[in-house]
């Protein structure tokens, strides 16, 4: 049981085998927390079974906004232990963990056997049976009480959940089971709930919160910026983004196509976008690999396109349901030849809205494909976030509206961007080409044309270094200060931000930089953010240190650079980063380029 009986944040793991409904229980608790004005997040870990396999709901609730899981779980509620070892590695138990299990459960896993925490064997199944409900609802009641929720609050979310056609009949038995679970928890809340109760102010704020996944947030960002065409091929963990858009896009006058494969998807996107409609595809690693050639065409023919890669564990088919940041290399270098393009990454669920909108805006402005690297963690994390104003960025292209025989699609311009005439504009007819071309778009193999077009395509991106700071404010975010810095991209920002806060509490002052625009490299901008930094810790969820190597290849870095990396599926945690930070403060300047893993 957690030492402090009333905490600012608490982490709960709910596990069980097929049909135990642990994911539903997690969902309900998260929603109840949201309604109470708390923050929280929920991720799920599932086994290989297509349906009915074991699953874990990993829940964290707090009084402050959350972007990541904690290092350890304070409560483990296990409906059963079937195949628990499949994700035991992802569920690190706090030393004071409270384990709730069924009185009759057998084969208790080693990690639990050996825990220094408290293991309670309770009549979970019996209680479910007695009330006519299911064991997950017993869990909702039990855990809800630990979290300081009332039976009414819990009953309300249960009612909400089952108020869908044909499921109302489960409401009463579920509430009965929940209440019985609530009662079972009594001995554990003698000194109060494990989480500090929300204040009235907090409760009032509940109406300004959204419960959203990163995949939904990306879709929102796309719609907000004016995206209206989507082509995609199902792939875990991007499919749910396509499925969310499926019924919604037509309302915006948009269209979504389920393509026959990813090659078709990216080429459909290029076709639609060439027609003037801002367009996107969403995929995961294997799909990104297949899109490499299409992305290169987008670069050469200068066609905007948004490619969202919700990264999963690679290489190859890898571990489709789990998270890693291993597609960075491919995203940066996709496509043969010198094919510079935009690469961006949102760094939290809320930011998925913003960075996606900005990416579409940039792709359209610069007439270039933009790859947005999300990941399974961000994409499928259900998170309670503060409602925000939707970002201002819109898809707007430099267009040519009429021509008098003088049109050159690939005109060399100072900023590298050439006004685009859309099909339908009289007098500007031309043929865009993936062959190298002259300014007038006709194929050319001349030395001069190739050089000029390469220069232009590079220039339009690299000029971003010179854009006014206001326009580029979103490129990265810095927090804290001091001579030690943590640099992250994408979802690694969450644990890093928390680590920097924890470090500050220890009196260790560090700064955190989260990079959202990964390519083109903002060398001068990063140097400014790193001003005064002597030791840099590069944190990422890869095995090979892809981000670290990318940084070395393009940026000027402080003398001591520590690569702190970990492959999936065990998430990067705040304390892992904190340890790296502590170490960075200790090591001598001669030990540059250390690797901590």
């Amino acid at each position: 049981m957690p030492k402090t009986t009333s905490r600012e944040t608490i982490s709960l793991a709910l596990t069980g085998s097929g049909g135990a409904g642990m994911l539903t229980a997690g969902d309900l608790l998260l929603r109840a927390a949201a309604r109470n004005g708390l923050y929280g997040l929920l991720t799920r870990s599932v086994g290989p079974q297509i349906r009915g396999g074991e699953s874990a709901a990993l829940l964290r609730i707090a009084h402050y906004p959350l972007e990541t899981h904690d290092d350890a779980f304070h409560v483990l509620f296990a409906a059963d232990w079937k195949n628990f070892d499949r994700f035991a590695g992802e569920i690190h138990l706090d030393e004071d963990v409270l384990v709730i299990m069924d009185e009759h459960a057998r084969e208790v896993p080693e990690t639990v056997e050996n825990t220094t925490g408290e293991v309670c064997r309770l009549p979970l199944q019996a209680t479910a049976k007695r009330t006519g409900g299911r064991v997950n609802m017993v869990g909702v009641g039990f855990l809800g009480r630990l979290l300081g929720m009332t039976p009414d609050e819990l009953a309300a979310v249960i009612r909400w959940f089952f108020s869908r056609k044909g499921r109302e009949r489960f409401i009463e038995s579920s509430i009965a089971a929940m209440k019985a679970g609530f009662d079972l928890a009594a001995p554990h809340v003698k000194t109060g709930a494990l989480l500090a109760p929300p204040s009235a102010k907090e409760r009032a704020a509940a109406k300004n919160r959204w419960l959203m996944s990163g995949n939904q947030a990306v879709a929102m960002g796309f719609l907000q910026a004016g995206g209206r065409f989507v082509a995609g091929y199902p792939i875990t963990p991007a499919t749910d983004m396509l499925e969310w858009l499926g019924p919604r896009l037509p309302k915006f006058g948009g269209a979504l196509v389920q393509a026959e494969d990813e090659l078709a998807a990216i080429n459909m996107v290029l076709g639609a976008s060439w027609g003037g409609v801002p367009a996107m595809t969403a995929t995961s690693g294997p799909g990104l690999s297949l899109m490499a050639e299409g992305i290169g065409l987008g670069v050469a023919a200068e066609i905007p396109a948004l490619i969202v890669d919700v990264q999963r564990i690679g290489p190859s088919t890898g571990i489709p349901t789990k998270s890693e940041q291993g597609d960075l290399n491919l995203a940066l270098h996709a496509a043969h030849g010198d094919a510079p393009h935009l690469v961006l990454a949102p760094d939290c669920v809320t930011d998925c809205i913003r960075t996606t909108a900005w990416a579409l805006h940039l792709a359209e402005k610069l007439q270039c494909p933009a790859i947005v690297l999300s990941d399974q963690k961000l994409g499928q994390m259900h998170s309670i976030i503060d409602a925000i104003n939707l970002p201002p960025w819109k898809a707007r292209r430099k267009l040519r509206e009429r021509c008098e025989g003088d049109y050159a699609r690939y005109r060399i311009t100072p900023d590298g961007v050439s006004p685009m005439a859309l099909p339908g504009v009289p007098g500007c007819m031309h043929t865009v080409d993936g062959l190298e071309h002259a300014e007038n778009a006709l194929p050319s193999s001349r030395v001069e044309d190739h050089a000029a077009q390469l220069d232009k395509r590079r220039r339009k991106l690299f000029r971003m270094e010179d854009w006014p700071d206001e326009e580029m404010a979103h490129w990265a975010e810095v927090q804290g200060g001091g001579e030690v810095a943590v640099l992250t991209w994408g979802s690694a920002a969450g644990p890093a931000r928390e680590a920097v806060r924890m470090a500050a509490e220890e009196g260790l002052h560090a700064r955190h930089i989260s990079m959202r625009l990964l390519f083109p490299p903002q060398k001068k901008r990063l140097s400014r953010l790193l001003d005064g930094v002597k030791r840099l810790v590069v944190v990422e969820q890869t095995h090979s240190g892809q981000f670290y190597h990318y940084l070395k290849s393009w940026f000027d870095l402080p003398e001591v650079v520590i690569s702190c990396r970990r492959p999936g599926p065990r998430p990067i945690t705040p304390r892992q980063v904190l340890r790296a930070l502590r170490e960075a403060c200790r090591i001598s300047e001669h030990e540059s380029e250390r690797v901590c893993q």
Partner: protein
């Protein structure tokens, strides 16, 4: 503001000098397209021609319409995306037998099924022209080349048959040496609301000099609109391989497209946001 129409066929040409060899069948295809478009009075800027890579794939730049010269094998997805984004445009996809029936064959099958309102012109010369003479999916089993010294030794792809089996709603074959008949077929294909395959026998005198005899062998009009898909297939199987004509025409739904007047996006966004309230 659109262009004044009608134009003469020649006005649908861009004036760019083709890279094609003298005598290439693709000149006839180019001519036929212009002759198909002219009487339809289509403003040139409302026509977009999308192609892949190959000698055939060079055709868009020779037309005075909009054009997209994309990747080998991917003309159909690009054309589909374009058509669904801009349904008011006349979209023509063009490619070679390798482009469409080999590397692009998945897209071909699925475009037939999906039925976007696109006209696909396959310039079939039974060879990879651009890469200088390898067998294509339509090459004869005994077409011997260094890459396959004893010939492909397998049945050639029968484009119209594959299209019918895949659910295409318009299937025809023409001959580049008969540009008037071909123009008529292309015009009917463009007029057809849905996906239309026009396979064109388009000789490659450079790598298949024997195809210069096609002129004498082609059986114009030997394919005739069938009453059922089964009948159409039977006809394609039975007819001599150099038969031309329209063999199948059917009505089918079109896929959903982007609508011209988008709804009030702001209000819709607010609706969506409301859905995220806990």
């Amino acid at each position: 503001m659109t262009e004044q129409t009608p134009h003469k066929p020649a006005e649908y040409k861009s004036g760019v000098h083709p890279v094609w060899c003298p005598g290439c069948g693709d000149y006839g295809v180019l001519a036929a397209i212009t002759r198909a478009l002219a009487p339809m009075g289509l403003p040139r800027e409302k026509v977009a021609v999308v192609s892949g890579i190959g000698c055939s794939g060079r055709i868009p730049a020779y037309l005075a319409t909009y054009g997209f010269h994309g990747l080998h094998g991917r003309a159909l997805p690009v054309a589909t995306g374009l058509k669904l984004a801009r349904p008011e445009l006349t979209v023509i996809a063009a490619g070679g037998d390798g482009d469409i029936y080999s590397i692009g064959s998945a897209h071909f099958v699925h475009a037939c099924r999906r039925n976007p309102d696109i006209t696909l012109i396959v310039m079939d010369n039974r060879v990879y022209g651009m890469t200088k003479g390898q067998p294509s999916p339509t090459s004869e089993p005994d077409f011997a080349t260094p890459l396959q010294p004893e010939g492909p030794d397998m049945p050639p792809v029968n484009g119209p048959l594959l299209a019918l089996a895949s659910g295409a709603s318009f299937v025809a074959r023409g001959f580049s040496g008969h540009p008037d008949e071909l123009a008529d077929i292309i015009r009917a294909a463009i007029a057809h609301p849905g996906f239309a395959l026009v396979e064109v026998l388009s000789p490659c005198p450079t790598f298949r000099p024997e195809q210069t005899h096609w002129k004498r062998q082609v059986q114009a009009g030997a394919l005739q609109p069938a009453g059922s898909i089964g009948e159409a297939m039977a006809q394609v199987l039975a007819a001599p391989e150099l038969s031309t004509g329209i063999v199948w025409k059917a009505r089918r739904h079109l896929p959903h497209a982007v609508t011209e007047k988008p709804a009030d996006a702001e209000a819709l966004m607010q609706d969506l946001l409301a859905g995220f309230a806990p």
